[in-house]
Symmetry: none
Subunit: 202 residues, 4 copies
Amino acid sequence: MTEAETKPARRSIGATRNPASQEAILQAAEAVLLENGLSGFSIEAVARRARAGKPTIYRWWPSQAALLLDVYHCRKKVDFNFPDKGNVRDDLRAYLKGLLATWQGTSGAIFRCVVAKAQGEPEAFAALSAYMAERRLQSRRLVEKAQERGEVRADVRPELVTEMLSSFAWGRLLTERLDISDEEVDAVIDTVLAGIVPRPAG
Amino acid sequence: MTEAETKPARRSIGATRNPASQEAILQAAEAVLLENGLSGFSIEAVARRARAGKPTIYRWWPSQAALLLDVYHCRKKVDFNFPDKGNVRDDLRAYLKGLLATWQGTSGAIFRCVVAKAQGEPEAFAALSAYMAERRLQSRRLVEKAQERGEVRADVRPELVTEMLSSFAWGRLLTERLDISDEEVDAVIDTVLAGIVPRPAG
Amino acid sequence: MTEAETKPARRSIGATRNPASQEAILQAAEAVLLENGLSGFSIEAVARRARAGKPTIYRWWPSQAALLLDVYHCRKKVDFNFPDKGNVRDDLRAYLKGLLATWQGTSGAIFRCVVAKAQGEPEAFAALSAYMAERRLQSRRLVEKAQERGEVRADVRPELVTEMLSSFAWGRLLTERLDISDEEVDAVIDTVLAGIVPRPAG
Amino acid sequence: MTEAETKPARRSIGATRNPASQEAILQAAEAVLLENGLSGFSIEAVARRARAGKPTIYRWWPSQAALLLDVYHCRKKVDFNFPDKGNVRDDLRAYLKGLLATWQGTSGAIFRCVVAKAQGEPEAFAALSAYMAERRLQSRRLVEKAQERGEVRADVRPELVTEMLSSFAWGRLLTERLDISDEEVDAVIDTVLAGIVPRPAG
DNA sequence: TACTAAGCGAGACGGTACGTCCCGTCTTGTC
DNA sequence: GACAAGACGGGACGTACCGTCTCGCTTAGTA
């Protein structure tokens, strides 16, 4: 940004997308969002900050929501590695704690905005839905592997398990109560776990 | 609404709030929200529909969010009765199914908007927080009573139990996946239940 | 303008047009037009200069052209008094010289823009047409009175006479050759006059 | 045009101007102007229609106005032949009727735009001025020849005579009143003529 | 009974942002 | 080095709402 604001200004690099502009816009979008919040987030503000023309933004992102989601994707790119610690308890705990930890920073502020936007704009909703569907596919593997290992009963629906955890994290994110003790996390994990482990023989 | 649109227009009834205006505005707000969605919800649109002046709205509701929340409160007034069926399983099932069922109608659409607004506007967030705190107080009783009956272990945090269920419902509401089978509801309830019932002696 | 730029800012004076805004906008429009020319004349520039919102301008003037024409009308309000000097020659001379003189100032610059706009925008054209039609009605009286006095033949079409003079002035305005000697004016007047006075008996 | 729109696209013919592009651009410019009017006339629209790159247009025409004037020149190339019918009356009548007739077609629409553009852009004005100066030189010959034949008084300024006629035509063009009867044309011609023929001895 | 004070509808006000179109400049790869 | 293509920063377009204001009215409560 600082560069963007002081440097002589980017130009076209021919009939092809200018990555410098793209990056400047994403950075500006993130900065505007974090400084002014969702209600202060506008394409105009981003364009001003990025020293970019509005049409340049609309050329590559069809809507505010698309830009928002792109910011989220780019920023959290490395965040989510679905852990494989060898046992369910540790895997699920890492999954939930990872979610909560990630959202405590910048990513959380952005994702809240994405979820909020999705409640009013169909295209934002579609984008979020697609993202969530993909996430569900990834996270269900976590439980499936536990089932293969015999740690989790076969009649358990894998998605439901991770959904219970991620929903819990969503709830905390959207009500700004992410700051949660390890004991509480363990309590949640243990509760879920008790319901999905194989039943004792008796 | 139809009345509001055709009738000659209300006037002041003196130096006191006109309940007819208040009601017309709430009705118009609900109608606008349901017809046009959150993105089409504006004070101007409500004023137009209610045949009310904008200052009349701003006089009684400090912000869009306040109006929204008021609509939600007025509409769901009778909805939530915390059940007392004598055993935890039925109580929790009724609690979760009640939430999901309520939100499948008008209330859900409105509540989604409230949650969304809260992500961008501090006053909306405060209003939602206050509401949620109250809800948590009410719903924890449900678990506490079960603990008194010995159905639930004493070391279980009551709020955490209902939060897991209500978070699950939030997640479904915000991703438009409220249409859920009884089997899934049971799976969720059973999972949670397994984690909170007294442990077998062995 | 100077006032408008420094004063604390106008507000609404209720559900009625604010004449101060109207005046500020007209003044700003004239100033912008004279300083930046037609190509630099934009509603945005006028709004900025008048410290007015764009919607306020669009509320009262449907188009750039309407605003332009209004500026012209307001500014030249007192200019055109059709003379009645008792004889045709002096009347026509006063008519033509008045046109040329008026247009040598601000009014001319504005009217050129109005004519130019009219060549591209139907609504501007309509506005100009209406104005010209009214002008023709007024100016034909000049010749009709001369006909009543017997100074001009009855078979002469009154409009055609004044049109020849006003067209001449248009031509000079649009090619920036308004600076014309009295001899040339007299030559034009005498030429026209020779063609419309009663024919000698022989 | 049709060709331009369907053909696969011209390419460079090496380090030299491609006449096919030039012609395609002029044709496209004329078509755009006639179909969409001056307000719809843009370099982008012309480039789209001609399947040409914008830089190609800017390379050869410095401005919209230059392109416009070039279109006018190319199209009316053959139109104006100054008649020599042997007597002033017929010559002047042919001159005026020629002007009116020419402008009733495509040329008129284009010339209106040129005049309009000239009111806002100095370069367009310069181009129009140069063109008009040349026209005046040509048309004054018409009157000078009549003076040589003794049909017109020697003290008459030749330019003024043709200017009165051409101004009249300009006025009609710019107010879309070119559809004029022969009687009116004759009235104008006779009026001018009466003022310039030799005075009767008495 | 008259006066006052507040609520009412209406809608204009200065603004901000929207999403689109065009400007004139640029760079790329092809011919 | 000219060409088609098209991205770039920029600016104006005309519209929708924002939240504030003033108007003229109506009426309840006070004096």
